[in-house]
Structures are given as structure tokens and as C-alpha cells.
């Protein structure tokens, strides 16, 4: 232990000894002064954020942020995929309506089967 530390401990010891002998009014004034000093110190450092605090916050929030990001990516991927499928579907429907053949030809359950049958019988003969 160095000299400075020893000196400090001696003063603290003496102050503690004398503490009991002080007048209650003096003790009250000292207590009030201490509280004021602590309050002033708290006000002074209230706006200061320690980098350790920020890092601790980030460590806690990191999994949640990753989950949100993953959800957003999945959501965006699904949205883009659906939009693309719907766009293709829309194009096919428009092409069908613009086609030479009437809608009934595509709605008829038997037309295609009849066509295939006619094709296969003509290729056999």
C-alpha cells in the first residue's frame, strides 16, 4: 500500500471517529450537502450514454432485429413471387380473351379431347 492510500485511510478513520461527536444540526447540514452533490452529479451525467450500455442494448435486441429482418425478407420474397405469378396469369387471361377462338372453345370439356382423338385417328390413317 503506498503513502497516499495510507494517509487517506487515516483521514477516513479520524472522520468516522469524530462523526459520532458532531452536533446533530451539523450532521443534518452535511447530509443535505451530500444529497445535493449526488443529485447535481446525476443531473450532469443524465444525458450521457455509456458505449457499454448501448452495446448491451444491441446484444439484447440483435436476435429480435435479425428475426424482423428475416421476416421482412421472406415477406418481400413472397410478395414479389405472388405479384409475378399474378402478372403472368393476367397476361395469359388477356391473351385468351384476345384469341381467335371464342371463350366457349376453352370452356368446353370435350373440344380438346375431340381434337386429340381426331389428330390421332388422322395420323393412323
Amino acid at each position: 500500500m503506498n503513502d497516499e492510500a495510507q494517509f487517506g485511510r487515516r483521514i477516513a478513520g479520524l472522520l468516522s471517529e469524530r462523526n459520532g461527536q458532531l452536533d446533530p444540526a451539523v450532521l443534518g447540514a452535511l447530509g443535505a450537502a451530500r444529497r445535493r452533490a449526488v443529485a447535481a452529479s446525476e443531473r450532469q451525467f443524465a444525458g450521457v450514454r455509456s458505449p457499454y450500455v448501448a452495446m448491451a442494448w444491441w446484444r439484447t435486441a440483435k436476435p429480435a432485429a435479425a428475426a424482423v429482418l428475416l421476416l421482412a425478407v421472406l415477406f418481400a420474397g413472397d410478395y414479389v413471387n405472388t405479384a409475378r405469378t399474378q402478372a403472368v396469369q393476367g397476361e395469359v387471361e388477356t391473351a385468351l380473351l384476345a384469341d381467335d377462338l371464342p371463350i366457349d372453345a376453352y370452356l368446353d370439356q370435350g373440344f380438346r379431347a375431340w381434337l386429340q382423338q381426331a389428330e390421332s385417328s388422322s395420323s393412323r390413317s
Binding site: A61, A65, A66, V68, L69, L71, A72, V73, F75, A76, Y79, Q86, A87, Q89, G90, E91, V92, E93, T94, A95, L96, L97, A98, D99, D100, L101, P102, I103, A105, Y106, L107, D108, Q109, G110, F111, R112, A113, W114, L115, Q117, A118, E119
Partner: protein
């Protein structure tokens, strides 16, 4: 990284209400959309949001069609909107299947359709029965 994710999510979430109410009012449509969808103007409000969205997607490239094709599309809009989703899906499936046939045979499709229509009701019923049989056997094959 997280900020970018938050921005994407917010952008997507904010676009949802806009999509849900896309073009619910005829007056909200652009002039080009109104021109293309003119046959549906009276029924527009009664269409469900999904149908309205589908129609808006369908006419996105309306201007690229020839005048003859545009007239055909518009002439068939009303009938198409009256079909059930399963009927539309069936028609789209048939259309896709018929698109796969060789171009030389495709040109003759119009004539083949005329021929098919001239068949007796019994012959057409037989063709439909065959189609059902084919689709059943295809489904069975797919299951195996």
C-alpha cells in the same frame, strides 16, 4: 442492417391498404384503364377487390394489342367476369394446353372449332365423356 429491414417492412406494410382498395372507385382509374375496361364500368363497384385487381393487371398491356384484339377482349370481358374461378382456371388450362400444339395445326383451330360445333349433341357428349375419362386416368397415373 436492422434499419434497412425496418424500412422494407414498413414500406410493405404501408402498401397493403393501397393494394386492398386498388381502384375501388371507377373515377380513381386512369384514362387508359377506363378506356380498356369500359365494358365493365357499370359493374365495377360490384366486383370484389380481387377481381378488380385482376382486371387492372389484365389491361396493363391493353395498348399493345391490335385494335382487332382489343375489340375481342372488350367484347368478352362481361362473359369472362361472370365465370366462376374454377371455370376460368379450366379455360386457362385448356388455352395453355392448346398453345402447345404446332403452329400449323393451331391456325386450323378456328375451323376445327366450327367442325366440333357441327357435331351432334351425342357426339359432343361422347367427347366430353372421353375427356373426363382421360383426366381421371391421368390423375391415377400421377398418383402412382
Amino acid at each position: 442492417m436492422a434499419a434497412a429491414g425496418r424500412i422494407i417492412l414498413l414500406a410493405l406494410l404501408s402498401s397493403l391498404p393501397a393494394l386492398a382498395h386498388a381502384g375501388s372507385d371507377w373515377r380513381e382509374l386512369s384514362r387508359a384503364q377506363q378506356r380498356a375496361l369500359a365494358p365493365l364500368a357499370d359493374d365495377w363497384r360490384e366486383l370484389d377487390p380481387a377481381s378488380r385487381e385482376r382486371w387492372l393487371r389484365m389491361v396493363e398491356r391493353f395498348d399493345q394489342l391490335t385494335p382487332e384484339e382489343q375489340a375481342r377482349v372488350q367484347g368478352r370481358m362481361h362473359n369472362w367476369s361472370q365465370l366462376s374461378p374454377s371455370e376460368r382456371a379450366h379455360a386457362v388450362g385448356q388455352y395453355r394446353a392448346l398453345r402447345r400444339i404446332p403452329p400449323d395445326q393451331r391456325e386450323a383451330l378456328q375451323q376445327r372449332w366450327q367442325e366440333y360445333q357441327q357435331l351432334s349433341p351425342e357426339e359432343r357428349a361422347r367427347a366430353r365423356k372421353d375427356a373426363r375419362k382421360d383426366s381421371k386416368s391421368k390423375k391415377n397415373k400421377d398418383r402412382q
